[in-house]
């Protein structure tokens, strides 16, 4: 089985910040908007390099989404930055009417997604945002797994016309995907080849899935790990091809099982090839305060949970 190396842990939000810095230099139409979280979103370099293209909106996320929609009229490509909770649930109707229904070329970039925001607790964590965003017609939904992939995705979405939700996180996590990768929206990345179980993961759970695959290999189980960075549009072909081989699937995400990647995969399987599936996700609950590692363990969002789910789903075949 192919092995992956952590080349040095980094936060995915820094991948966004560095990608935005690069876009500032290469694409004069890119503008950035932030709702009083410039440091947290790693947007300071863009702000310093291009003060005329950086818009500090203040603590007014609804206004930020509306301004971003308006800025597209005349050819700008706005990237909005705030926490995932304030990027989605707080401004759902603004995104729905002024961005999605109006088909505006706005990139909603959301940090501190999921439970790994940590100590601030459930008011700031969000485990429902993938569901909220994927339900909007025309919205592209991306959840990247490491620094390199987040940087590549940030560059790629500037080239894509249409509304995009880009989800990433706060903590330092393993950086293991190639530095020079080309990010293809809607194209799954197969990380390992296997025959016994397909593990489909997104975001921070991709690295956990790779760790789980190593543990499973030691137990004689061959796992195929697929990184779904784009939840919508979903790469159904990659999923069906893998499942045709393995006959069962585990989905893993830092999100409620309701509305998440797992449900999208389940629909694909129900339509084309009904297959046993287990869900590594939060179980219809809010989060709480704690360190990211403690929370991932308590809410069953780690390699150990993926191993257990894999054994369970293989037994159901």
């Amino acid at each position: 089985m192919k092995k992956y190396t952590n080349t040095g842990s980094k936060d995915t939000r820094s991948g966004f910040g560095d990608g935005l810095t690069e876009l500032g230099k290469t694409n004069p139409n890119v503008v950035a908007l932030c709702a009083d979280l410039t440091g947290s979103l790693k947007m300071n370099a863009f702000k310093d390099n291009h003060p005329e293209r950086f818009f500090q909106i203040g603590i007014a996320e609804a206004n930020m989404i509306g301004i971003a929609a308006g800025m597209t009229i005349g050819g700008k490509i706005p990237f909005t930055g705030t926490f995932a909770n304030f990027s989605t649930g707080r401004v759902y109707d603004q995104i729905r009417q002024s961005v999605a229904y109006s088909d505006k070329n706005v990139k909603i970039c959301a940090s501190h997604a999921g439970i790994t925001l940590g100590e601030d607790g459930a008011t700031h964590q969000i485990l429902e945002d993938i569901g909220l965003m994927k339900m909007l017609p025309g919205m592209t939904v991306i959840n990247t797994c490491d620094y390199n992939q987040t940087k590549a995705a940030t560059l790629a979405i500037a080239e894509h016309h249409g509304p995009v939700y880009l989800r990433f996180g706060r903590p330092k996590v393993a950086n293991f995907t190639p530095e020079d990768q080309k990010f293809e929206i809607g194209k799954a990345v197969q990380l390992t080849e296997g025959t016994d179980v397909t593990i489909i993961a997104t975001g921070h759970l991709v690295w956990e899935a790779l760790q789980a695959a190593e543990t499973l290999e030691e137990a004689g189980i061959s796992a195929e790990v697929i990184n779904i960075h784009t939840i919508k549009p979903l790469d159904e072909e990659a999923i069906l091809t893998s499942v045709a081989k393995t006959g069962c699937v585990v989905t893993a995400e830092e999100h409620n099982f309701l509305g998440g990647l797992g449900e999208s995969v389940a629909r694909t399987l129900a339509l084309h090839k009904p297959t046993p599936q287990e869900f590594v996700a939060t179980n219809d609950t809010f989060g709480e305060s704690g360190t990211p590692a403690q929370l991932m363990e308590k809410y069953g969002l780690n390699a150990a949970s993926i191993v257990k789910a894999s054994q369970k789903v293989i037994a159901r075949k």
Binding site: A60, A62, M64, G66, M71, I73, G75, K76, Q97, Y101
Partner: protein
């Protein structure tokens, strides 16, 4: 510049369009539409600098956003009569497969519309965004928006008002349709607005009033003054005093026609008060 007589003829025809549109489908919002007919006719045919044809980006021309999207009948009629799309298409208002949705949208590609509106309070933010882009592009044309007074009860309006003044968005004129009525009754009874002049001035806007917002000459003079005040470091707010249902006697001085269509007999009475000028669609 258009003379007042031809604008008045156009207003009368727009009133007929509004009434016939909502009557046909027995739905829609005639009251606010009639109240803003003089303003929008004058804005599109005398005040704004517009290019021929429609381009979403609106570069090198003035741009207008309707934030109170429920008065869609009047904007559809004004756009059609200005040549953005065939007037015959007004026949499809609110029907299945129409570009003239209940509330305006870009979704079906109707020329003249640049943002969906209907869920209230969002248009000022959008207008500010376009005004900022115009500044970035070195485009010295203006951005206009129209809002209901009841719409000012939405919190996002005040986020936007604070931003526009704080960031000197001075290429922007927001007009408030100040008819003091909303669905449930008088704004003073539903949620008092207090002094809008004092509120906008406290936020840092330059505010002026057009006390007869259904008079074309008053609109011309007021909006000329508003334009003259742009470029001075402040966004400009126009309080446009209007009469809901203006031009149809039984629809005036009441909020009853906010979202109600006339029946056959009422339509006949209303049309008799507004004889055909430019030809019905």
């Amino acid at each position: 510049m258009s003379d007042n007589k031809s604008l008045e003829n156009l207003v009368t025809q727009v009133r007929r369009d509004i009434l016939r549109m909502v009557h046909k489908v027995n739905s829609g919002h005639p009251g606010g539409s009639l109240g803003c007919a003089e303003f929008l006719v004058t804005l599109y045919n005398d005040i704004m600098k517009l290019n021929d044809g429609f381009d979403m980006d609106g570069k090198n021309e003035d741009v207008f956003f309707l934030s109170n999207g429920h008065i869609s009948p009047v904007i559809y009629s004004v756009l059609a009569r200005r040549g953005y799309f065939p007037v015959e298409e007004l026949n499809t208002f609110r029907l299945l497969d129409s570009r003239l949705q209940g509330h305006p949208t870009t979704h079906e590609g109707l020329p003249g519309i640049r943002i969906a509106s209907g869920s209230l309070g969002q248009g000022m933010s959008v207008a500010i965004g376009t005004a900022l882009t115009k500044k970035l592009n070195g485009d010295d044309h203006l951005v206009y928006s129209l809002h209901g007074d009841g719409e000012l009860q939405e919190g996002q309006i005040w986020e936007a008002a604070m931003y526009a003044a704080g960031n000197k968005v001075d290429n922007y004129i927001a007009t408030i349709d100040y008819n003091q009525k909303q669905i449930d009754g008088a704004t003073d009874d539903v949620l008092p607005l207090g002094s809008l002049t004092a509120k906008f001035e406290a936020f840092g806007w330059d505010v002026l009033e057009i006390t007869d917002g259904n008079n074309i000459q008053a609109i011309k003079e007021g909006m000329a003054e508003a334009k003259a005040r742009t470029g001075n470091g402040k966004p400009v707010c126009v309080l446009l005093h209007t009469e809901m249902g203006n031009g149809v006697d039984f629809m005036m001085h009441t909020h009853a026609w906010h979202g109600k269509a006339p029946n056959d007999e009422q339509l006949e009475t209303a049309l008799a008060q507004n004889p055909e000028t430019l030809g019905d669609y």
